[in-house]
Symmetry: C3
Subunit: 269 residues, 3 copies
Amino acid sequence: MTQQTTTDDTTRRVQPPRDPAVSVVADPDVLTTALDALGAIVDECVLAVGEDGVSVEAMDPATVAMVSLDLDADAFDAFDVDTDRRLGVPLERLRDVVGIADAGQPVELAFDAETRHLHVQVGELAYSLALVDPEAIRSPPDRVDLADQYASSATLDGASLARAVDAADMVADHLALGAEDDHLHVRADGDTDSVEIEFPAADCAALDAPEPVESLFSLQYLASVTSATPGDRPVDLRFGDEAPIEAAFDVADGDGRVAFVVSPRMTRA
Amino acid sequence: MTQQTTTDDTTRRVQPPRDPAVSVVADPDVLTTALDALGAIVDECVLAVGEDGVSVEAMDPATVAMVSLDLDADAFDAFDVDTDRRLGVPLERLRDVVGIADAGQPVELAFDAETRHLHVQVGELAYSLALVDPEAIRSPPDRVDLADQYASSATLDGASLARAVDAADMVADHLALGAEDDHLHVRADGDTDSVEIEFPAADCAALDAPEPVESLFSLQYLASVTSATPGDRPVDLRFGDEAPIEAAFDVADGDGRVAFVVSPRMTRA
Amino acid sequence: MTQQTTTDDTTRRVQPPRDPAVSVVADPDVLTTALDALGAIVDECVLAVGEDGVSVEAMDPATVAMVSLDLDADAFDAFDVDTDRRLGVPLERLRDVVGIADAGQPVELAFDAETRHLHVQVGELAYSLALVDPEAIRSPPDRVDLADQYASSATLDGASLARAVDAADMVADHLALGAEDDHLHVRADGDTDSVEIEFPAADCAALDAPEPVESLFSLQYLASVTSATPGDRPVDLRFGDEAPIEAAFDVADGDGRVAFVVSPRMTRA
């Protein structure tokens, strides 16, 4: 009633680093929202950590969608960073560990610069996560200022946006999103059926569309974005005519921000 | 950061027909109950729409089970029909759209006779559903009056009936349903195990079995029927000796009615 | 609208045995907890039924894990046994039938020695379960007294134990469980990540570890054990240094007891 094994490596302790280069405490809800957003676009990313907070820029391998994350030091319950650091994070594994925390249970993260491991402490649980070499993670291209392409903007709640994208997904693999002065619309045309969701200005928290605009997007990308967007808060959209769309929302009560950008599909050759 | 596509067809609006041949408003719960019942037996069916309401007769391809639906004009919140119409409906697609409605949120249906599209409006969402040519849908055979085969009848709640069918499904692929003067029974014999569920007359809302009867049915069909039967309301059964079984229940507080009929498996050559 | 079938065997009644050799009534929650525990280790087992109650010993085919169950006669609402009996039970089928009972609805079990069927009555449902020949079920080896291998013991709630095992499962396929005088620990080392869960003595209902001990276990077996261990009650652990682990808990408010034993993986040749 015994089994043989050759491993004898389970006696080392999982201990927090003695002199961590980065040591922060965060609410699990803030972390999961941030990690879900990043994970919707990439598998791994580089966290730039400095004394002011954490920021991430990442682009999907097909270069269709980008995500940026900014978390101010105030977004954390405790924040102690010795110098600027770049951490290569395997998103799904960190997400799994953070997912163990109960609602409101603080999550402690400590980076050991020597071993390049991230120590995660959740209650009685200590997890040592091997980080990825940040040089091995593809850098996103330099950020292009898209402000002049965004002719229009609107704000609506995440749940409404998700519902519109889900409805479009019933009939087609791409959708058109646009606005006129008095409404925002999402439209999709399949082989047989069509669907249109119209949000009158009165149903939007904000709408600014000086002239009619519309762009076509891949549903695959928009569905990834909306599935990683909390339904319970306002989402700020910026868009234009055959232009990218930006969808941004607050995390940590405004001490953090997530922004997705999805490129349009070209509609005229 | 752009993708090419050859489609340029997403600019047309999804608008309700200007002069709809049929225009009704219904509660989503009434529609989903009706569509689930029809969808348990067929993929597509013909809705006969007239000034008095809507009716459907459909039979499954193996001609073992039938479903009929009657919805009076009173079952709708609004009902406006110009003349008798036959609409060929793809059930699952319409069910998906109606499923978007929140509980109690009215669903507007408008039939455009010119384009043969059904326009569905749920809140801010407009869906244009391509109907099927009713001539391309197999007609059920003429309705046969089965009243003289129904020697017995009983009424019990949908949840009890479903539980009996589920229990039978644990041991066999067919079940016997019958009654004597003081009880209704469901019995199934598998290769090793047997199960019997007995409903005494006192547990039935009604039971009329002047003489012992029993018939054998395919569990596959009965399970489809019970899974599309709401558990929260009485189901009226009519059955006999080696005879079909009818299971019927009200929808829309009695302004509508669904009836399933399942043929028996023959037990004597 | 008819189907042919050659079977004509659905007319026999599923009736309780007239003179059952064993006749008991039990709470469904007691039965499902007991059956889930047995089912975590084996597919079939032999229930030894006597006037004092029911007991089971079973070992998994790979001889890595054992389960024992004792249910006193007092664990049942009614208990009537004519003489010692050995019943060969197909666990999953009996579990399915018992699962039909609503919470608190009594389950009646009656064994017909002549037909070797177990009659199960749950409300209006009667189920006749063909038992397995007890001689055809592999006997567990004689019970070895492991008491001198258990240098340590601890008590913690089932949910905490399950959480520790689930966390270990994120990184590896085996885990180390051990204790020192002031804490119990679970540790797992994967190819890249490590996890450790530490329960201080203050978080345990009891802890007795006179000297440091640790043993290595297969996660596959421990996960089966914790998934069949209710989270809502204390689990008594006994373990040692490169020794088996026993996890035991009460059922039926202490009138019954389940104990699992899992062998360690050998770590030194």
